[in-house]
């Protein structure tokens, strides 16, 4: 298995048409820390990238004829990334340590993420980094209401970047943020041009840094799950995701009533049975993966002294991360779901029932053995 620290991070910049993806990319590429970054744009870009790498990819997509949705691979994207890597290894282009993919404004981010995650060649050289979504402060609210793809882009994002805030009223920006928080309650959010560009915050502290036992990344992740943003001036407070607790997995709902995409959290007091959780989540994603835009959480797994972080986008789930330690005194498991058209109550009831049924089964088994 390739050491994940040796893999090249791939960041996806997504966002609706005209929302400022290319402008953000231009600003990022001026940062010295990103001087060794390759860029793929799937519309022929106009960015002046003299010392950077620019490749064009088309919109073709290959869905392998299997029904295995985790293997949805965009053939052109896969070929373009492989070609870049090959040129890098041959010394035909400057050595790059990061790849940024800018998608078209209408693209569903999932197939792009799935390509990097599941392509049998790419996954040994590249890894997924943060997904950054740009939202236009002037037109964002209308686009989110009318364009489902735009709402999905925001929902799956790890980082949110509101653009053009100087072109509209503060009250309108606040209203837009409130709308965005219904779709994605916890991702760190920046406003531009009012706030300085935080390239490290946008690109770092991702799920692979969690696995690398980066305490900073683990603090960011824990704060994201809890929905409290106190780590940086630029990070706006998200709605508090603290649930009511209890064995029944009670949590909070952040329903978006103008659309079907909404977020909620489940909270479990008792340690979770990892095997049952794996069976339940796999079954859920098999049937409803396309509608589960994000699932992420910190779990108190039975027999594990340290918490386990899980992180998934639709059918794609990252390897579970064994965190170094609990971020605070709270030992409850917390799972945040961002779903499209699924009911909070039925998901909570289903997971609770699976867990209770197995707990009862183990108890009966141990009683029979006289343990």
């Amino acid at each position: 298995m390739t050491d994940s620290s040796a893999l090249i991070p791939v960041n996806l910049i997504t966002g609706f048409l005209g929302s400022g993806k290319t402008t953000l990319l231009q600003r990022l590429l001026r940062e010295p820390a990103l001087s060794d970054t390759a860029v793929l744009i799937n519309e022929f870009g106009e960015v002046g990238l003299d010392h950077h790498l620019l490749e064009r990819i088309d919109e073709t997509m290959v869905l392998l004829q299997s029904g295995c949705l985790c293997c949805t691979i965009r053939g052109e994207l896969s070929s373009a990334i492989k070609d870049l890597h090959s040129k890098r290894e041959q010394g035909r282009i400057p050595f790059f340590r990061r790849l940024v993919v800018e998608s078209t404004g209408l693209a569903d981010p999932f197939p792009i993420l799935s390509t990097v995650h599941a392509d049998p060649v790419l996954k040994h050289h590249f890894r997924l980094g943060n997904v950054i979504a740009t939202v236009d402060a002037v037109n964002g609210e209308t686009q989110l209401a009318l364009q489902k793809e735009n709402a999905k882009q925001v929902a799956v994002a790890d980082r949110l970047f509101i653009t053009k805030t100087d072109l509209t009223e503060e009250a309108a920006v606040e209203m837009l943020i409130s709308r965005i928080r219904q779709l994605n309650p916890s991702a760190p959010l920046w406003r531009t041009p009012r706030e300085p560009l935080d390239a490290e915050g946008l690109l770092s502290h991702d799920v692979f840094e969690l696995a690398g036992k980066s305490e900073t990344a683990q603090r960011w992740f824990a704060a994201e799950i809890k929905g409290r943003w106190q780590l940086g001036r630029q990070n706006r407070p998200a709605q508090d995701l603290d649930g009511a607790g209890g064995d029944g997995g009670q949590g909070n709902d952040f329903s978006c009533h103008s659309g079907s995409i909404h977020a909620f959290s489940l909270v479990f007091d008792a340690p979770l049975d990892w095997t049952v959780f794996g069976i339940w989540l796999t079954m859920l994603l098999n049937r409803h993966g396309a509608r589960i835009l994000r699932v992420k959480g910190i779990l108190n797994v039975a027999d594990s002294p340290a918490p386990v972080a899980i992180h998934g986008v639709q059918h794609l789930v990252h390897p579970p991360v064994h965190m170094v330690q609990w971020p605070d005194e709270d030992r409850r498991s917390r799972i945040v779901f961002i779903v499209d058209g699924l009911e909070h109550t039925i998901i909570e009831q289903s997971m609770s029932t699976f867990l209770r049924a197995q707990k009862q089964s183990w108890t009966e088994k141990y009683d029979a053995l006289g343990v």
């Binding site: 295995c68 049975d273 079954m283 859920l284 209770r356 049924a357």
Partner: protein, 109 residues
């Protein structure tokens, strides 16, 4: 190889993550791996009973999923389990199905 796609090297699944620093896994040694497989079979069968299916371990390297009439599929890992179960039964295996939830609740009441 991914049994469904035919893509080489595509068999890893998050529930079978290879043990390495920073990754939570129950694959750290052979005994732990076998124990987890046994637990997985037992847990899955509680659910599969609803669909008239039964899962068993096959040589510690795969699973066998069978109907009551003996029709059998080989399952590599959990991601494929539910796809194969739906193929064998012609039914959707949905954890949000109220009838399934009711049966699981009845079983532990």
């Amino acid at each position: 190889m991914c049994a469904l796609c035919g893509v080489l090297g595509n068999a890893d699944h998050w529930t079978d993550a290879i043990a390495r620093p920073g990754v939570f896994s129950r694959q750290s040694d052979a005994a732990e791996r076998r124990r987890e497989r046994m637990r997985r079979v037992q847990c899955a069968n509680r659910v599969l009973k609803f669909y008239g299916l039964k899962l068993s371990d096959w040589q510690g390297s795969a699973f066998l999923l069978s109907t009551a009439t003996g029709k059998t599929e080989i399952v590599d890992h959990l991601a494929h389990l539910w796809i194969k179960a739906e193929k064998l039964t012609g039914r959707l295996c949905d954890p949000l199905d109220p009838a399934l939830i009711a049966q699981l609740e009845a079983a532990h009441d």
